[in-house]
C-alpha cells in the first residue's frame, strides 16, 4: 500500500466519522422542525467553512515544511490520542458506546421541545443547531484535510477524500432516511484513532528532527505498532472489567 492510498483512506475515514455526526444533527432537526431553515443553516455553515479553508490552505504553503510537520504532527497526535483513548474505553466496556440512534433521538427531543417557529417563517432554532453542527464537525474535517494534505503536499488528494466521504455519508443518510446507526461508528473511530495517532507520531517526529529507519515506509510500522498497543490495552482492560464485575456485584 503506497502513501497516497494510506493518506486517502485516513482522510476519508476521519472525514466520514465527522460527516456522520453532522448529518445526524441535521436530520434530527430537519425531520422535527422542517427543512427550510435547517438547510439555510447548513448552507451558511458551508460558506463559512469554504472561507476558512480558502484562507488557511494558501497560507500554509508559505510555512517551512519542517515547522509545518512539527505543528501538524503534534496537533494530530494530541487529537488522535483522544479518539484512541475513547475508542479503547468504549471497546473495553468502560464508556458507553456512542450510538448515533440515541444521538438522533436526543436531538429530536430537544428540537421538538424548543420554541415554536416564528411568524417571519425563519426558524432560528433549526438554523442555529444545523449551523453549529455543520460548522463544528466541518471544521474538524477541514483540519484533517489541511493537515494531511499540506504535510504531504497533496491538498487536492486529501480534499478529494474528504469530499468523497461527505458525499458517501449524505447518500447513505438519504437512502436510510434516518440516523446512520448502520455505520459501525465505534470501529471506525478506533481505526481512525490509530491512523491519526500514527501520522501524528510520524510527522511530528520528522518535524522534531527524527530520521525514521526505512524512510517513508516506517509509517506502516508505526501504524502496526499503534494498532498492536491499542489492541493489547483494549483486551487487558476488558479482562480487568470482567474480572471485577462479580466482585462489584457481590459488594
Amino acid at each position: 500500500m503506497n502513501s497516497s492510498v494510506i493518506l486517502f483512506v485516513a482522510a476519508f475515514l476521519a472525514s466520514a466519522v465527522e460527516a456522520v455526526e453532522a448529518l445526524t444533527i441535521v436530520l434530527a432537526v430537519g425531520v422535527v422542525r422542517g427543512w427550510r431553515s435547517t438547510l439555510i443553516g447548513v448552507a451558511a455553515a458551508s460558506l463559512v467553512l469554504a472561507a476558512v479553508i480558502a484562507g488557511l490552505g494558501p497560507a500554509l504553503q508559505h510555512i517551512p515544511i519542517g515547522t509545518l510537520r512539527f505543528v501538524v504532527g503534534a496537533l494530530l497526535l494530541a487529537f488522535g490520542l483522544q479518539w484512541l483513548r475513547k475508542a479503547i474505553l468504549r471497546a473495553s466496556g468502560y464508556k458507553p458506546l456512542h450510538d448515533e440512534a440515541e444521538a438522533f433521538s436526543r436531538e429530536r427531543e430537544q428540537a421538538s421541545s424548543a420554541a415554536p417557529i416564528a411568524s417571519t417563517g425563519m426558524d432560528w432554532y433549526s438554523f442555529t443547531v444545523a449551523f453549529k453542527g455543520v460548522l463544528l464537525e466541518g471544521l474538524e474535517v477541514a483540519f484533517i484535510v489541511v493537515t494531511f494534505g499540506a504535510t504531504q503536499g497533496r491538498l487536492g488528494l486529501a480534499a478529494a477524500a474528504a469530499a468523497a466521504a461527505v458525499v458517501a455519508v449524505v447518500v447513505a443518510g438519504l437512502v436510510v432516511r434516518g440516523p446512520l446507526e448502520r455505520v459501525p461508528e465505534n470501529t471506525l473511530k478506533f481505526v481512525v484513532g490509530i491512523l491519526l495517532t500514527s501520522f501524528g507520531i510520524f510527522w511530528g517526529g520528522e518535524g522534531a528532527g527524527v530520521g525514521w529507519p526505512g524512510g517513508d515506509l516506517a509509517i506502516l510500522g508505526v501504524i502496526a505498532y499503534v494498532g498492536l498497543v491499542s489492541y493489547i490495552l483494549m483486551r487487558a482492560l476488558r479482562r480487568r472489567r470482567l474480572a471485577l464485575q462479580p466482585a462489584a456485584a457481590q459488594a
Binding site: A74, L75, R85, E140, F143, G204, A208
Partner: protein, 75 residues
Amino acid sequence: MRYVRSFGRFWWNFIVGDDWRVAAGLAVAFALTWLLEHEDVSAWWLLPLAVALLLSESVWREARGNSDARSKRHS
C-alpha cells in the same frame, strides 16, 4: 466575550480533550525528541514509547476511577 470563551473552549477540547496529562506528556516527549536529535542522538523510538506509556496510563486511570465509582454505588 461569550464568543471568545466558546472559541477557546473549542480549541481546548480539540487539542487537550478529557485528559490534560496526555497533552502535557506529549509536549515533554516532543521537547525531549527535539533536544536529543539536536545533540545528534537518534530519538525515533521516543515518541512511540511515550504514546504507549501515556495512553496506557490514561485509560488505566479512567478504568480504575470507573470501577471505584461502581463499587461505591454497590456498597
